[in-house]
Symmetry: C2
DNA sequence: GCTATCATTGCAACCAAGTTGCATTTACTA
DNA sequence: TAGTAAATGCAACTTGGTTGCAATGATAGC
């Protein structure tokens, strides 16, 4: 079962990457498959550890793969006050206009998929909004 | 006029720091006075440049002073996706439960004082919120 | 006002996350 | 199946921030 699932993610990743019209390299596929399987925001460091064992990806290459996946909207990037980026697969097209929760004890970040990142008051005159980030910080259920 | 104002900020900074009951050092006073005069979020680097000329503060000391001012709630710290902290004086006690705007072109950050950082949906069961961060990103009036 | 004391400062060295330039390898195209 | 541009790996670098420790300085007690 587990094995089947992993093959499935591999295949989905491969398809998604090919749909961009650019090269489907093994690195890109492995990283995206892993993120598809996780379904939560994962840091560069965690990904590196997770991928260890199999032919290891270079650190720089991993940064570049994550950038690329982000450019192609296959993943989204979440920033947090620990100055670390986390990445999460965009499984469908209702992408990332949602809020995030950051646990200040275990440092994990989760997507609050059904809480929209929005604001209600007008911006100062002349300002053009492009993106909104809403992060709730506190303790998650396991750390509380 | 300008000179008077600067003396005024110096004095206000001095008072605020003494009210904490801890030591009123020249570094703390200079940094807080500068922030009181600015009334906008300023990065460590900017502060360092601004304070250049007068007897220069050590880089590490400045980090420590900013941490200290933050601990004492005399300033608040704003995080942003460029992994740079910015600091703004808390002029009164209606402190920092407000949103921020980050210009993606000039990289400046401003406080949206009358936009509250809040959320409307419930968190997952067992989660305890402690703080909320809301950042609107886009182009400011000067960069649009 | 002077001195002792402990917090604060400065220095040097360090760390972690992320980036750049360039030579090598690899996925795709013809 | 070979040629080619794109992707990768490596080494070195940058930026923002931190740590340990010795030197300095603000304040309390006299």
């Amino acid at each position: 079962m587990i094995a089947d699932m992993s093959i499935d993610f591999q295949e989905r990743a491969d398809n998604l990457i090919r749909q961009t019209g650019e090269r489907a390299t093994s690195g890109r596929i492995r990283v995206l498959a892993m993120l598809l399987a996780e379904q939560r925001p994962v840091s560069h460091q965690e990904i590196e550890e997770r991928l260890r064992g199999k032919s290891r990806l270079n650190r720089v290459t991993l940064y570049r793969i994550l950038d690329w996946l982000n450019d192609k909207c296959l993943v989204h990037r979440i920033v947090s006050d620990d100055r670390v980026w986390r990445f999460r697969a965009n499984n469908d097209l209702r992408t990332h206009r949602h809020a995030h929760f950051k646990c200040t004890r275990c440092t994990r970040v989760m997507c609050l998929d059904d809480m929209k990142a929005e604001y209600d008051r007008p911006l100062p005159a002349g300002y053009r909004p492009l993106e909104v980030e809403l992060t709730v910080k506190g303790l998650c259920a396991e750390c509380v």
